[in-house]
């Protein structure tokens, strides 16, 4: 059941970046920080790629798939969550478009800030549902050989797309974010006030 710890850790990582984005955008909107579009782009790149490339496919293909076999009655819950993975992708595309508009036109900041809040709440609700409903169900319903397969998938570092261990690539991007985000959200340099 090592996958449970890995899933929760990945949820924390995604949430940390989403929360970092929320706070940074709020600070920009409040005039406490200048817009750093390189940093915003890096935050969005992480949110776009980490769940899509590494996290959701493992949930859909391994955890949810095994759970469907063992607990057919959980299908409506799993269908809903799997659909939210797709909805999340669409919402992210909208959010990224809002940022691009803001990057070109500072007047579009309020719309981007609203979009960030909505995305953060959507993500939080989805993740809580997985942790409160799916993981306890999986812990109770899955057999040792299910966990062996799921654990192996979640522990795997292979990523044929980028050609290097995906977890290492995302780890490096995360370190970059932590080192670049201004305090108190990260340990980067103090953000200059908006000019």
């Amino acid at each position: 059941m090592k996958a449970i710890a890995i899933i929760q850790d990945e949820h924390r990582a995604i949430t940390a970046v989403v929360e970092g984005l929320r706070h940074l955008v709020a600070a920009i909107a409040a005039g406490q920080a200048a817009a750093d579009h390189a940093l915003l782009a890096a935050l969005l790149r992480y949110i776009e790629q980490f769940p899509e490339r590494l996290h959701h496919p493992k949930e859909d293909d391994f955890l949810f798939a095994r759970l469907r076999l063992r607990r057919p009655e959980a299908a409506p819950l799993l269908d809903a969550l799997q659909q939210e993975h797709a909805i999340g992708r669409e919402r992210f595309v909208e959010l990224k478009a809002m940022w691009e508009r803001y990057r070109d036109d500072p007047e579009a900041l309020p719309a981007f800030a609203d979009g960030v809040e909505r995305y953060a709440h959507f993500h939080w609700r989805h993740m809580r549902r997985e942790e409160d409903e799916v993981l306890p169900l999986a812990a109770a319903a899955l057999a040792p050989d299910d966990w062996e397969a799921i654990d192996a998938a979640f522990a795997s570092n292979d990523d044929p797309v980028v050609g290097v261990p995906a977890s290492r690539a995302f780890r490096e991007l995360f370190r970059h974010l932590a080192a670049t985000m201004p305090p108190p959200y990260g340990v980067g340099p103090q953000a200059p006030a908006r000019r």
């Binding site: 710890a5 929360e19 970092g20 780890r171 932590a178 985000m181 305090p183 959200y185 990260g186 340990v187």
Partner: protein, 233 residues
């Protein structure tokens, strides 16, 4: 794995007051333990007792088979206990680099290696302790504990008051430390799921007594029991 630390029937506290009541635990070299419980249940007192800063009323503490209770605090540190206190204890009059070199003991960990895991500290090497952000202070507190080249790292609420990105970054570093260096770790943390994901075994304290012990993985997979024991929000 050889036994690193043994706590046998320890009753301890401050002066005549008793906080820990008949606590026992075992930790092998390279093993990891989460110490959980609600506020005021004795978690920090157990770490402080290991460092020799409480009164030991009863019981035995042994470190690699020798009597730990006979050693004063500074010799416990030299013996291999690296303590990262909750308050971090930064010195306003010392630079980052001085914090690290002041406590250095021979071994794997040196200033360059600490800067390797915390590059931000290298950038801030000439800054004083009171010029650091909370995240930087916690990095320095962990780096300073590593400089004594400990066999056991005692982390007292290392994530308290830090932003989620910093918490995740520090967790990754601690996880790498455990995996790569074989260092044993005891972590006290209010965020129970965090502590459980970092460790192999768990002890839960309630009013100074052990009320649960087992595998961290099992408790992580049992949210009802976890909620009952530590009231996770």
């Amino acid at each position: 794995m050889a036994e690193l630390l043994a706590v046998d029937g320890v009753t301890a506290g401050y002066g005549d007051g008793v906080v820990l009541d008949d606590v026992s635990l075992r930790l092998d070299e390279g093993d990891t333990l989460a110490l959980l419980g609600r506020n005021g249940m004795g978690k920090t007192t157990l770490l402080v007792t290991l460092m020799g800063l409480t009164r030991l009323h009863r019981g035995r503490l042994s470190w690699r088979g020798a009597d730990l209770a006979a050693l004063p605090t500074h010799r416990r540190s030299r013996a291999g206990l690296g303590w990262v206190p909750q308050e971090r204890h930064m010195f306003a009059s010392l630079t980052v680099e001085e914090h690290l070199t002041a406590v250095a003991r021979p071994g794997h960990w040196n200033v360059a290696r600490v800067y390797g895991i915390f590059p931000r500290l290298a950038e801030r090497r000439t800054n004083f302790g009171n010029q650091l952000s909370g995240g930087e202070q916690q990095m320095l507190a962990i780096g300073r504990a590593l400089m004594v080249n400990p066999g056991l790292l005692l982390l007292d609420e290392p994530m308290e008051g830090l932003a989620p990105i910093i918490v995740q970054e520090l967790m990754s570093v601690v996880r790498d430390l455990v995996a790569d260096s074989g260092m044993a770790v005891i972590v006290v943390e209010q965020h129970a799921k965090l502590a459980l994901s970092l460790t192999r075994q768990v002890i839960v304290l309630e009013r100074g007594r052990v009320v649960h012990r087992g595998a961290s993985e099992a408790l992580l997979a049992d949210p009802a029991t976890l909620q009952r024991l530590v009231a996770v929000s």
